[in-house]
């Protein structure tokens, strides 16, 4: 299969995903919920309600609304945000990049810590250190991230005063949220690195390498590492998608970080439909994009894979 054909296939799948999810959310929000109840105070008169319903176009038949939505969505126009009163796209571009960067930092931290830890655990497999590291990585996965955030904030920002408690502005504002978000991917990655490494060490090629005099630690670093990259990258990609798809919201809320997760939470709570649709669209696209990048990276690390 050629590279071009492969990308085209992937693109088709992306469009399918985005379409299905967008329609799903559209139907869900229009059928079950009523934004007028949320946008207007309880004291609003019937006339006011009807007027707003008309303004928002909610009085027209559902299928017509959906048609219009898809038509404009195809040109990346999701309409004005109801709460911010400006194009939804604009709002997204205010919030998405900063979160993407934050989560990228978190992933970088996770990779830098998890790989050495996973390799050490695999090297010392069966030892007390290995067991300790295994439980430690489990702790990283199990503790609620927003709680870790609160604890780190309490200790480093409130008690020690080393870092700002919340908000945004300097690079220092990035440290605590990034570290907090990094815990879960770090645990996931350390576990997969350790597991895959021990699997690799039982492979025949590992025996060959040892038989020619390769030290155990070099066997891990030079031989096995390259072979576990595909599964590690899959894990990193997955975790990145999950964080950007709303998992980081709680941490962003804790630190008052004006990012995409925060925006998602606010949007859903205020039932800002156009903005919500835009968010759904972008998360779905990004997830597919990252999966594509992951697949391309596969080929870079595993010479057997060619598209």
């Amino acid at each position: 299969m050629g590279m071009g054909k492969y990308i085209l296939q992937r693109l088709a799948f992306t469009i399918l995903v985005v379409l299905v999810i967008s329609i799903l959310v559209f139907v869900l929000t229009r059928v079950v919920g009523n934004p007028v109840d949320i946008l207007l105070p309880l004291t609003a008169t019937t006339e006011q309600r009807e007027l707003l319903t008309k303004q928002l176009g909610l009085d027209r038949p559902m299928i017509q609304q959906l048609g219009d939505f898809l038509k404009s969505a195809a040109t990346l126009d999701f309409g004005d945000s109801w709460t911010q009163r400006r194009p939804s796209m604009e709002v997204i571009f205010d919030y998405l990049p900063i979160s993407a960067l934050l989560i990228l930092c978190a992933m970088a931290i996770a990779v830098l810590v998890a790989f050495p830890l996973g390799i050490i655990a695999a090297y010392k497999r069966g030892s007390l250190l290995d067991r300790f590291l295994t439980v430690l990585s489990l702790v990283g996965i199990c503790m609620p991230p927003f709680w870790i955030g609160l604890m780190l904030m309490f200790f480093f920002a409130v008690k020690l005063g080393w870092l700002p408690t919340s908000g945004i502005g300097t690079w220092k504002h990035f440290i605590l949220p990034a570290v907090t978000i990094s815990f879960r991917p770090m645990g996931n990655l350390a576990q997969i690195v350790r597991y895959e490494m021990t699997q690799q060490l039982g492979e025949m090629y590992a025996i060959t390498a040892r038989a020619k005099g390769v030290r155990e630690i070099n066997l891990l670093r030079k031989h096995a590492l390259k072979n576990i990259m595909t599964s590690s990258i899959t894990m990193i990609g997955n975790d990145y998608c999950k964080q950007l798809g709303g998992l980081s919201a709680a941490v962003e809320v804790v630190y008052g970080f004006p990012g995409f997760g925060h925006l998602i939470k606010e949007t859903i709570q205020s039932m800002d439909y156009p903005l919500l649709q835009a968010e759904v669209f972008f998360t779905a696209v990004i997830v597919c994009l990252i999966n594509l990048i992951v697949d391309i990276l596969y080929a870079a690390f595993d010479p057997r894979i060619r598209y």
Binding site: L201, G202, I207, R210, K212, G213, H223, R304
Partner: protein
């Protein structure tokens, strides 16, 4: 056979077990043999008889858990390998003993170009580096008759055929310039024509570079072609060692005789006379002689008493683990030994 040469490798009472939840598997049980400089010793036995485990034990490549070397000594050039701390074993591996594995398809690292993998062996064991090592690696590819070695250097394992990969394995093992080379069924998973090519290559190389080889196989045809002496393994034990000629003319152990008969039958067109029964369960080995349930000559003593590993030639060239070795009156042989 080089009579005067000293033993370069001596294995004494080697025992390796796998300790599983269900019990202990004695994969290698009290195995002793030795190799003189420059000779080829064939280690023969059916699959599951512990040949590979014995080889891996020599290099201390048994993974714990579940595998464990329980006792014995491996003396390479006067040095007991089991006295060396495990973390220093990498100095012995390669330069002291190198190994060709039986499964070329999976024995090369799939994500590293083959040239680099050979070069690594060169760098680790010949003290060369950089361009020099690369040149040497390409030389090695040439040595094992790989066409256009400069190009092949950059190939990944999946781009090569099985026979080519086994050549690479041989080149890699030889790049270590080992004192002893272990070839663990190097032709097992290859088809017949490729097998012949690899064997021819190994024979040629054996004459070119003067190495001591421990050649593991289950194919007696290969034994006749390659080996000076033969050790027969059964159920984790070496049951007979002698030189090739003696093995084919005068086997002393009933098991050896059984396998000899089965290949002779092929030649003479007699009815194939296979050894009756199944290979033993290593977790519940028979009492006494492990071969007794399948032995045509079994007697009461065989069921209860473990046979000693005896010299029946009187000069240490023919060892047998049997109460009643064929063609020998044991009491006489013992008298001669004294």
């Amino acid at each position: 056979m080089v009579e005067a040469a000293q033993d370069i490798l001596k294995v004494n009472g080697l025992s390796t077990s796998f300790l599983l939840r269900e019990g202990e598997i004695k994969a290698v049980d009290n195995v002793s043999f030795s190799l003189k400089k420059g000779e080829v010793l064939a280690l023969v036995g059916e699959s599951g008889s512990g040949k590979t485990v014995a080889c891996l034990s020599l290099l201390r490549l048994i993974r714990w858990p579940p595998g464990k070397i329980k006792s014995g000594e491996v003396i390479l050039d006067g040095q007991n390998l089991f006295d060396i701390p495990l973390k220093d074993m990498h100095k012995i591996r390669g330069l002291g003993i190198a190994m060709i594995l039986q499964e070329p398809m999976s024995s090369l690292n799939p994500s590293i170009i083959i040239g680099r993998q050979i070069q690594e062996a060169v760098e680790l064991n010949q003290g060369l580096s950089g361009e020099e090592a690369k040149k040497k690696a390409i030389e090695m590819l040439e040595l094992v008759r790989i066409p256009s070695p400069e190009k092949r250097y950059y190939n990944y394992p999946h781009q090569l055929s099985g026979g080519m990969k086994q050549r690479i394995m041989i080149a890699m093992a030889l790049s270590c310039k080992p004192k002893v080379l272990i070839a663990d069924e190097p032709t097992k998973s290859l088809d017949v024509t490729i097998q012949a090519q690899i064997l021819r290559l190994m024979q040629a190389l054996r004459n070119d570079i003067d190495t001591t080889i421990l050649f593991v196989t289950s194919d007696l045809g290969i034994v006749a072609e390659m080996a000076d002496r033969v050790a027969i393994m059964y159920a984790g034990q070496v049951i007979e060692i002698c030189d090739v000629f003696k093995l084919f003319t005068n086997p002393a152990h009933p098991y050896t005789k059984g396998i000899m008969k089965s290949i002779m039958a092929l030649k003479t067109g007699e009815r194939l006379n296979i050894i009756s029964g199944d290979p033993p369960n290593l977790m519940a080995l028979p009492t006494g002689c492990t071969f007794h349930p399948r032995c045509d000559y079994c007697q009461e003593k065989c069921r209860t008493e473990v046979p000693q590993y005896d010299d029946i030639s009187g000069e240490g060239t023919h060892m047998v683990r049997c109460h009643f070795p064929l063609g020998v009156d044991k009491t006489q042989a013992e008298g001669k030994g004294k």
